[in-house]
């Protein structure tokens, strides 16, 4: 059994919204695919961090006030992180931390924080938080799928030429004004979606594991997992979304919301 290495970036500094669940999901499905999954926490004490040593990198949301110090630590690794993404390995970034990987973050007081520039987006912090479910269609590893999660939106995302990860059926997404949700670059996902997304939407998790395995050149065991529970969860949350009262109008003509 070969080892699938997962790097978890700054888990105690970027620590919001129970995203530990995503790591559990990656580990669980990697196990089903025949891997021994190893999760390394990467933080300020990590020596000789080499992104390419990992098959998957994951970064959870954090407080924007923590971004500068994380940025400063990761900055010397920017080129390696870009190569990781360009090579087709999956870097999965959720919630506020999407902004950290963009070019720039503009805060409510007008101050600016540099992002790592792995993707070109520009983020603008909002005065008010927006929390809701989100529901979108996306394509990953050649598979069309639908995702439901939550988002706790602290900032708007200007794609600045990047490709959106999903097309919203309901939800705020990047700006609350259009159908764009997150960013996809090769096999890396930068999404506003919490949940934890990879627990609630295992059809995506399976594809991420396949992508990581393909990149290693490993044959993987067929993942035999009955997703009945997750499908029931998806359906009941879809029911909530379809009937909920909402001020969002960006998806009014779809069947996702009202």
């Amino acid at each position: 059994m070969s080892t699938l290495k997962i790097g978890w970036l700054f888990p105690d500094t970027l620590f919001l919204h129970g995203e530990r669940g995503n790591l559990l999901a990656l580990k669980r499905f990697a196990g089903m695919a025949g891997f021994e999954a190893e999760v390394d926490k990467i933080d300020f004490h990590t020596e000789n961090f080499v992104p390419d040593d990992y098959d998957i990198l994951f970064c959870a949301p954090g407080e924007i006030s923590s971004f500068t110090i994380v940025h400063d630590w990761l900055k010397p690794h920017t080129d390696e992180l870009k190569k990781f993404v360009e090579s087709g390995k999956p870097l999965i970034v959720t919630g506020t931390s999407v902004a950290l990987f963009g070019k720039q973050i503009v805060r409510t007081d007008g101050s600016q924080i540099d992002g790592l520039g792995v993707i070109r987006i520009i983020s603008t912090e909002n005065e008010e938080v927006y929390g809701d479910d989100n529901y979108f269609k996306c394509s990953y590893n050649g598979q069309e799928m639908e995702i439901i999660g939550n988002q706790i939106q602290m900032n708007d995302i200007d794609l600045n030429g990047e490709q959106p990860f999903g097309r919203l059926l309901y939800g705020y997404g990047n700006t609350g004004k259009d159908r764009n949700e997150g960013v996809i670059k090769n096999n890396s996902i930068f999404t506003n979606t919490l949940g934890p997304m990879l627990v609630c939407d295992p059809w995506l998790t399976v594809e991420i594991i396949k992508v990581a395995a393909d990149h290693r050149g490993d044959e993987i065991r067929n993942i035999e997992y009955d997703m009945e529970l997750e499908k029931k969860s998806f359906d009941t949350k879809k029911g909530l979304i379809k009937t909920k009262e909402s001020s969002l109008v960006n998806c009014r003509d779809t069947n996702g919301g009202n």
């Binding site: 888990p11 105690d12 500094t13 970027l14 620590f15 919001l16 919204h17 129970g18 995203e19 530990r20 669940g21 790591l23 559990l24 999901a25 669980r28 999760v39 933080d43 300020f44 004490h45 949301p61 954090g62 407080e63 924007i64 006030s65 923590s66 110090i69 994380v70 506020t96 938080v129 929390g131 809701d132 479910d133 939550n150 706790i152 602290m154 919490l194 949940g195 934890p196 627990v199 609630c200 529970l229 997750e230 029931k232 969860s233 009941t236 949350k237 029911g239 909530l240 909920k244 009262e245 909402s246 001020s247 969002l248």
Partner: protein
């Protein structure tokens, strides 16, 4: 003149409400009056800011406020307070309206208000309290607060200028980090007690509020609170708080502060910090000795709906309230169940958030909680209920290693379904963890159906 018009109008509203139901009207009079005089709170006469205390934080505000009021009143002090939990500026205003004369003068020894974390700066602009108690600042109400730093910045704004005495939780990193902001700081805390715990390596802790590096907890006395230090800047608990609970004995329900023995009114570990805070406030603000404060603890009864026991057709249903989106209250409930060595049924209803529009189905905070000790205890069955969130709740147990065959799921909050499932359990020992709304429906059901 606007003030008097607002005051008299509000008193009329209060009078009318009191005819209908004395327990209602905690906000309304203040809300209406402040439409007439938006600065109304600042216009009451006879309030010495040195005698004003605000109690704020994520958890423990209401209980601590109730306990402090009880100690002060049983020691002969008069107190104006918002004991009903209306903790926005309208609730504070309503309490002052009720206590004031027709001329707007308020006579009391102390003014003690529970205040919502977001609104402390707003309220303090009109009522410049010279005392602030911060219980803890944790992940909570993320739909409107986003993250703890959002609240942290608001509270920093509220204490700017430094002309304030701060009462700080010694064992909670964000609260403790206000230690440089007051003209005087009083800390309270607890030594490691018998119910203290640690979490496994896969769990996260939190970012240091001062430097954003990792906070390390040597142990948790209650979730997110315990002896801590920052790996980088040295921000840490003091070796001993000014007022520290020692010798906590949950079996014989007693503890000590400053060598004085106290009765423990409630034997749940999360209450320990409320006890320490109340003793500190009694001594430092009220001039009440620890010995006299201790006497008050013997007769304290908390507001209802936190931990309740229902009896239904031979079943003992132990209800624990959780605040949705708040992992700490859920972890506390998990620990209580895990520490019960008896065979048990666990009924967990994590529900959609309906506090504001839009409603949404969030259960992600459950992944911050450590269920391992619970699932390794003697659980007969798990029952996950609630509209839209029940399957994700069940999955949380599965991710903790629970056999799916031990879990039943119901996509509903219908109390008939919940009671039916409870009656099917072999054990009589049932834990019910959900939000207050469902509990109240179940309590009503028992009153109507329980003896049939």
């Amino acid at each position: 003149m606007k003030f008097y018009l607002a005051l008299w109008f509000a008193k009329l509203i209060n009078f009318m409400i009191s005819i209908v139901d004395k327990s209602r009207g905690t906000n309304l009079a203040g809300e209406k009056a402040m439409k007439i005089d938006p600065q109304m709170v600042s216009h009451f006469k006879g309030i010495d800011p040195e005698k004003v205390l605000f109690i704020t934080g994520t958890n423990g505000k209401s209980t601590t406020n109730n306990l402090i009021n009880h100690i002060f009143k049983s020691n002969g002090k008069t107190v104006v307070s918002n004991l009903e939990g209306a903790n926005l500026i309208f609730g504070v205003c309503t309490a002052l309206i009720k206590a004031s004369s027709l001329g707007g003068r308020v006579k009391a020894d102390f003014f003690i208000f529970e205040t919502d974390e977001r609104y402390v700066p707003v309220i303090r602009k009109q009522l410049p309290a010279a005392n602030l108690l911060i219980t803890n600042l944790q992940k909570d109400q993320v739909q409107r607060n986003g993250d703890p730093d959002y609240i942290y910045r608001k509270l920093k704004e509220a204490v700017s200028g430094g002309d304030i005495r701060l009462f700080l939780n010694n064992d909670e990193p964000r609260a403790k980090s206000f230690e440089d902001d007051g003209r005087e700081v009083v800390t309270y805390g607890a030594e490691k007690h018998s119910e203290a715990f640690n979490k496994g390596d896969s769990y996260v802790t939190m970012a240091c509020p001062k430097c954003h590096h990792k906070i390390v907890f040597d142990y948790y006395n209650t979730d997110g609170i315990g002896r801590f230090h920052c790996e980088n800047c040295g921000h840490s608990s003091n070796d001993a708080a000014d007022y520290s609970v020692t010798d906590a004995d949950f079996i014989n329900r007693k503890f000590k502060i400053g060598g004085v023995e106290f009765h423990m009114p409630y034997d749940t570990p999360y209450m320990i910090y409320n006890y320490a805070a109340a003793a500190a406030i009694a001594k430092e603000l009220g001039g009440i000795s620890l010995e006299d404060a201790a006497k008050s603890f013997t007769s304290f009864k908390n507001v209802g709906g936190r931990f309740e026991i229902l009896n239904f057709k031979g079943k003992t249903i132990k209800y624990m309230r959780i605040k949705q989106e708040n992992p700490e209250t859920l972890q506390t409930s998990i620990n209580v169940m895990a520490n019960d060595p008896e065979r048990k049924m666990v009924a967990l209803g994590l529900c959609p958030l309906v506090d504001m529009i839009p409603h949404y189905a969030n259960s992600f905070y459950a992944y911050d909680c450590d269920f391992s000790k619970l699932v390794n205890s003697d659980v007969e069955k798990y029952f996950c209920f609630s509209d839209h969130v029940c399957y994700d709740t069940a999955n949380r147990f599965i991710y903790e290693g629970v056999d799916p065959a031990m879990i039943s799921v119901a996509d509903t909050e219908d109390v008939n379904v919940i009671f039916r499932e409870i009656m099917e359990a072999e054990t009589d020992n049932v834990y019910l963890i959900t939000w207050l709304h469902t509990y109240e429906h179940m309590e009503k059901y028992i009153k109507e159906e329980g003896n049939k």
